[in-house]
């Protein structure tokens, strides 16, 4: 990937004339923003009597500050400033929507804050963390996430098989591709209802009937922890296998034709061609698909919330569904936020570790 700077063209002189205005505008807007935020903070704290009904004006001040920053860039730096304008909106948006709430969340995580009680927030230091260490349900949810993530490899195998099928010389390939893609477009909530509640219904669900016919006398999918976990996994896999399939299929179609033909001419069997040529060549695409899938898997919640609500006894809980219930039942944002932050740190460690490991491994293999 090469990036080229489109700057080799005749440079127009930057309009320095208004530079002073730019240097003035940004500090002024910053001052306004800080002032508005300060007034509101003091108002909420009860120090000053005047202020706003809610924090919205502070958001407006932030927007004004953002606009002033952009205008200031153009006035002060001319052409370079214009270039900066391209990434400015996204950066300002992400900072406001991620960095600020995350920092704010850190302060919530160290409080005992029940939204439905009048007591308001009380700072309690690391109490939430200590409580978390003894929370068997949270550890159980984390353990479930490990299981769910490990099962991505099974999904990958199925998806690879489907991609290979679609990559053959077949009729109506386009039709099959559309059909195979359909589950991805269904909302997890609809899937929970359609499959989890309706088709797996013990008395008359078609899948339960099929299972009886196959020979499982008592097709209660959510009675036993392991069958419940696997059933949730199957539903989630059903919606997301198409994603991996599409990525792998694109990879298969981009394989160099001559290499494949050479293997065939050499008299390699299909099995040998697959393990000797296709699979190694597909490794980078496979890794992309698996890593993306694991990232999506770590957000798994909707199906669990709607089908089992974590049951039986927390056996199917994902971290997200557990925190969701924890908040719904006790409306304590402090504890829930602490759990979420610990999860975030674990995810960051896990994903960076995984990427490092995979990088080194692919370098060794290829």
């Amino acid at each position: 990937m090469t990036r080229t700077v489109v700057a080799e063209v005749p440079e127009r002189p930057p309009p320095k004339r208004y530079g002073w205005a730019g240097s003035l505008l940004v500090p002024a807007a910053s001052a306004l923003f800080v002032f508005v935020a300060l007034v509101q903070a003091l108002h909420v704290a009860g120090v000053v009597s005047f202020g706003f009904a809610n924090w919205r004006p502070v958001v407006c001040a932030y927007l004004a500050w953002g606009v002033a920053l952009c205008v200031g860039q153009v006035l002060r730096r001319g052409e370079d400033g214009v270039r900066v304008l391209f990434i400015m909106p996204a950066v300002l948006f992400t900072v406001a929507m991620v960095i600020f709430p995350t920092l704010f969340g850190l302060t919530i995580a160290m409080t005992d804050w029940n939204l439905s009680s009048t007591a308001g927030r009380q700072f309690n230091g690391l109490d939430n963390f200590r409580q978390m260490l003894g929370d068997a349900y949270y550890w159980n949810a984390l353990q479930n996430m490990v299981i769910y993530s490990a099962l991505v490899l099974v999904e990958y195998t199925v998806a690879f098989g489907l991609a290979l099928l679609l990559n053959q010389q077949i009729r109506a390939r386009k039709l099959f591709r559309v059909v195979f893609l359909l589950p991805l477009m269904l909302s997890p909530v609809a899937v929970s209802w359609m499959i989890g509640k309706s088709m797996l219904e013990y008395r008359f669900g078609p899948v339960a009937n099929l299972m009886r016919w196959v020979g499982w006398d008592n097709p209660a999918f959510f009675a036993n922890p392991w069958t419940a976990r696997l059933t949730i996994e199957v539903m989630d896999a059903w919606t997301f296998i198409p994603f991996m399939m599409v990525v792998l299929l694109a990879g298969l179609q981009a394989l160099p034709k001559d290499v494949m033909e050479a293997a065939e001419v050499d008299g390699a069997s299909r099995w040998q061609t697959f393990w000797g040529v296709t699979f190694p060549l597909m490794l980078p695409v496979s890794i992309t698909a698996i890593v993306l899938r694991i990232i999506f898997k770590l957000k798994l919640a909707d199906i669990i919330i709607n089908v089992t609500a974590g049951g039986p006894g927390g056996a199917t809980d994902s971290v997200t569904s557990f925190i969701f219930r924890e908040y719904r039942d006790r409306s304590n944002v402090g504890y829930g936020t602490m759990l979420a932050f610990v999860y975030l740190i674990l995810i960051i460690l896990f994903v960076t570790g995984l990427l490092k490991l995979l990088n080194r491994w692919t370098r060794d293999v290829t």
Binding site: W193, A250, D302
Partner: protein
């Protein structure tokens, strides 16, 4: 490879074909059977739940509990499910509170997903273009770091932001508003849009813009008049993918909306608990909730695939 056979072939020649050839043909046939068999099985796995939902919306209680499968053969289709939604032919003209609610949830979902996707495409495309073409330096942050900053948002699980946003939105009076949802949805799809669009812009030759700049267009003019039309397929891909994700989003909507801005998935989810399950009306509701995406998905499948495979294959 068979040895070259005489140009004129007769029926006798075919009879003379040695046995290994016939075996090979049989093997090939078996392979075909297996291939299409596997394709068909998976097609059924994909389609049956949808079929089941659509047909259940036309079943009465007896038909559901007896597990009837095929309309007209097994049971007589009835508008039962759709009537309870106020969407059957005989109730479509009457006043229906359920239909009112359904339509308002539908509009909320449509407005939220469309606006969020468009907003994400707007700021995401600009950022992706900047990152693909210019070199930035903000303190220690170079292009690679800025790209990583955006893409790393993808691993941020929604649950981390959910509770802080609950409190923040309460303070901002944005709880249960469409704007609140739109902002959050934009955030969740922004990394994906930037990912797709950066790939798209990298594929467009720089010479085009250089020529445009020489011709006297400004940077923004070149972007708007030259690059944007070329990047349109990528933008449609990003739009379709974002719309699918936003339309199906449940977690934030369940936490942050209650009355006004409730979306369709929340409505579907809230039906199950109350008084037993009305299978037919749930089925009708689910069908109505998934129908728009099925149509969009089938019609724009090409773009959906383009969006999902962007950047995955070099």
């Amino acid at each position: 490879m068979e040895p070259a056979s005489p140009a004129v072939s007769t029926r006798f020649d075919e009879a003379d074909v040695p046995r290994p050839g016939a075996g090979r043909l049989a093997r090939l046939g078996a392979r075909r059977v297996f291939l299409y068999g596997a394709l068909l099985v998976w097609a059924i796995v994909c389609l049956f739940p949808i079929y089941w939902t659509v047909t259940t919306s036309f079943k009465t209680a007896v038909n559901v509990t007896q597990g009837h499968l095929i309309p007209w053969l097994d049971y007589r289709p009835d508008w039962r499910g759709w009537r309870s939604l106020g969407l059957s032919p005989d109730t479509i003209d009457n006043v229906s509170t359920v239909r009112e609610e359904f339509l308002s949830r539908f509009t909320n979902s449509a407005v939220a997903s469309l606006s969020a996707s468009l907003l994400a495409i707007l700021i995401g495309s600009l950022a992706a273009y900047g990152l693909a073409r210019f070199r930035y330096r903000f303190g220690f942050m170079r292009n690679e770091d800025i790209s990583f900053f955006f893409l790393s948002q993808l691993i941020l699980p929604p649950v981390v932001l959910a509770l802080p946003f609950l409190v923040l939105y309460k303070e901002l009076d944005l709880l249960d508003t469409r704007i609140g949802l739109i902002l959050l949805y934009t955030l969740t799809v922004l990394p994906i849009v930037i990912w797709i669009m950066r790939d798209q812009f990298n594929a467009i030759p720089v010479e085009l813009e250089e020529a445009a700049l020489v011709d006297g267009l400004s940077i923004w003019g070149a972007f708007y008049q030259i690059v944007l039309p070329l990047a349109l397929p990528g933008m449609v891909a990003a739009l379709v993918l974002s719309m699918v994700l936003c339309w199906n989003e449940y977690f934030f909507a369940a936490l942050l909306t209650s009355v006004e801005a409730k979306t369709l998935p929340v409505m579907v989810a809230s039906q199950t608990g109350s008084q037993g399950i009305n299978w037919w009306s749930m089925a009708a509701l689910s069908t109505a909730a998934i129908a728009p995406l099925l149509i969009v998905g089938v019609a724009l499948e090409r773009y959906l695939i383009k969006g999902m495979t962007a950047g995955a294959v070099k």
